[in-house]
Symmetry: C2
Subunit: 361 residues, 2 copies
């Protein structure tokens, strides 16, 4: 087991990474405020892991409330959140009850937001079971639900007490979701860690083949990158925004296609290619660097073009993004492979051209 610390003063917490952590209840027991938890999962993950997490805790004297939500990005909604609140209130869960998020990013984001707002805040633990949530959404305390007019529009910054990233849970992950997770892994290399990017270029075949050692290394280096950025800028006043490489374009893809049609990581991959294309048009990347970025995404079996929504429609959807300030679209672009920059000065024409070049088959 490897352990990383996310350094946020009194809100600091550890991330444990390894195989079989889900079967070590003492890791959870040590973090509880009271012997009372609610484990929240979804219909896909609960049959695989709910009993394995819940039963050893019960055997240790913890009262466990189980909540199973429908599975899918389209359920990252107020209605699902309310299912959590109904269950917590129905079981008379108190302020000392710890919520445990058992699942991917959707479960993690919703349970985190439920923990941030139930009785004005209760402790929570993340057990991410997808690569995406292990390397991204379980680190940094962003919690949210979607609103019909925008993704992640309602949420809070709220840190977990503990994250258990059990690589063994990736054994059951569909290949498409593994690839989607790799999109965020590649992103860390692209925005701030050239040596990691080079390591990924060499190890992507091993990652796609789910080699445990390669996965542990990729998860740890991803989390370490994210933890450093988050520690420097918890509430995204500055550098944290670079983690959104590809996300403004990507959110337009997800919203334009209907949430859940493209996986988040797939949309981020295509979005990162649009950002790279725009960076090339601004003279920061050359054609060879662009090809290198495309190559690594293809190695990860990710899309390198977005759907054909029409470039104007992309822009319209992007204007709803949280990264807008004083009406100006601020984009994360690349000065080089391994160096991101936040840029509000790209012209409408260049942005449209970059989208145009990277949409459709």
């Amino acid at each position: 087991m490897r352990t990383l610390n996310v350094a946020l003063g009194e809100r600091s917490y550890p991330i444990h990474i390894g195989r079989g952590l889900i079967d070590r209840p003492e890791l959870i027991l040590d973090a509880l405020k009271a012997p009372r938890v609610a484990i929240i999962s979804n219909e896909t993950v609960a049959p695989l892991y709910m009993a394995r997490v819940a039963e050893p805790l019960e055997a240790a004297g913890v009262k466990v409330t189980r909540v199973v939500l429908p599975d899918g990005e389209q359920y990252k909604s107020w209605e699902s959140l309310n299912l959590i609140f109904d269950a917590l209130l129905g079981a008379r869960c108190e302020r000392s009850t710890t919520l445990i998020a058992l699942g991917g990013g959707v479960v993690g984001d919703m349970v985190g937001f439920a923990a941030a707002t139930y009785q004005r805040g209760v402790p929570f633990i993340q057990i991410p079971t997808t690569l995406l949530s292990q390397v991204d959404s379980s680190v940094g305390g962003k919690t949210a639900i979607n609103h019909p007019l925008g993704k992640n529009m309602i949420g809070a910054f709220y840190q977990p007490k503990l994250v258990l990233a059990d690589i063994a849970t990736l054994d059951t992950l569909p290949a498409r979701e593994l690839s989607a997770g790799l999109a965020e892994v590649i992103k860390y290399g692209l925005i701030r860690d050239l040596p990691f990017f080079e390591w990924l270029e060499a190890h992507l075949p091993a990652l796609v083949a789910r080699d445990p050692e390669a996965l542990i290394e990729a998860v740890e280096r991803s989390c370490a990158n994210k933890a450093e950025v988050v520690a420097a800028d918890e509430t995204e006043q500055g550098v944290r925004a670079t983690l959104n490489l590809g996300h403004t374009f990507g959110h337009a893809i997800e919203a334009g296609m209907g949430y859940g049609v493209w996986l988040h990581g797939e949309a981020v991959a295509a979005g990162a290619m649009m950002a790279a294309e725009l960076s090339r048009r601004l003279g920061w990347l050359d054609a060879e660097q662009l090809a290198r970025i495309e190559r690594i995404h293809l190695q990860a079996r990710l899309p390198v073009r977005g759907p054909d929504l029409g470039a104007d429609r992309y822009l319209e959807l992007m204007a709803h993004d949280k990264k807008v300030e004083d009406g100006k679209l601020r984009l994360v672009l690349l000065k080089a492979v391994g160096e991101a920059v936040i840029h509000g000065g790209a012209g409408r024409g260049d942005i449209l051209a970059a989208i145009e070049a990277r949409q459709g088959d």
Copy 2:
């Protein structure tokens, strides 16, 4: 104008108290991050004050979005909160938009929660227009909405940037609501400030007659008491809970009668009498002190008995309160007039007897 500072480190903020503050747009302008606000009010308050707040800001170049909600505790719900989110997203309000809560405690709590969660947090300003919200809900950063299974069950701790308590807005307040506000004013004397309690005994006739100087003094001393408590314990790990004197009984009254039938302050007054009665049974108060507490509530034209719900029903409703820990009911009781204590050791029989003695006509 008098100014109090709520000392919470980097989340510190000023409370301005005086007559006519609503007509001083510079107080608001100085606190804005960007020239963009959304003013959220209700159907009762908006016709009186919305234009007076909005128009001078617009004249100064601020873009203003107006949101008017239905009036009443029963609308302190997810549905109303969503009306705010819909309006903010519809008007493309960004992270730098400041939300302004213009109204009483319901508006303040909901707008505060909207500010805490819209795009994971935007700045907000409180302009409380009731005595209750001036002395209580606008100080301390508790924000929330109700859930069908419990009051204020979903919320966050989130501090405003500024509070403007304009005593002139109390001119239009119904007498019943003025009295309800006095319940919280009296509470500060009861729990921690005997000199203020004695001042109130002398000045309640002036307060009921809305004497401006008396009101300014009462609001300032109430806010100062609350600000001290909140600064010592922002997230209610300890002493802040004493502010809930009468609230656990009071929430049972509000829930048992249906939210909005009894005003919050009325329920708190009857609840404080139940807490005082229980304190007498525990030997902490004598009959004369109990009578003194009853007298001041009667001077303020407040109820000193709760509705006849049946004592068992009270207890059942109280068990849903957030002040429950490990299944144990923790009550705020009085060691003396001016000294509250948090006590988890009252027996079921004593609690039932205290309720019994103070319910029904």
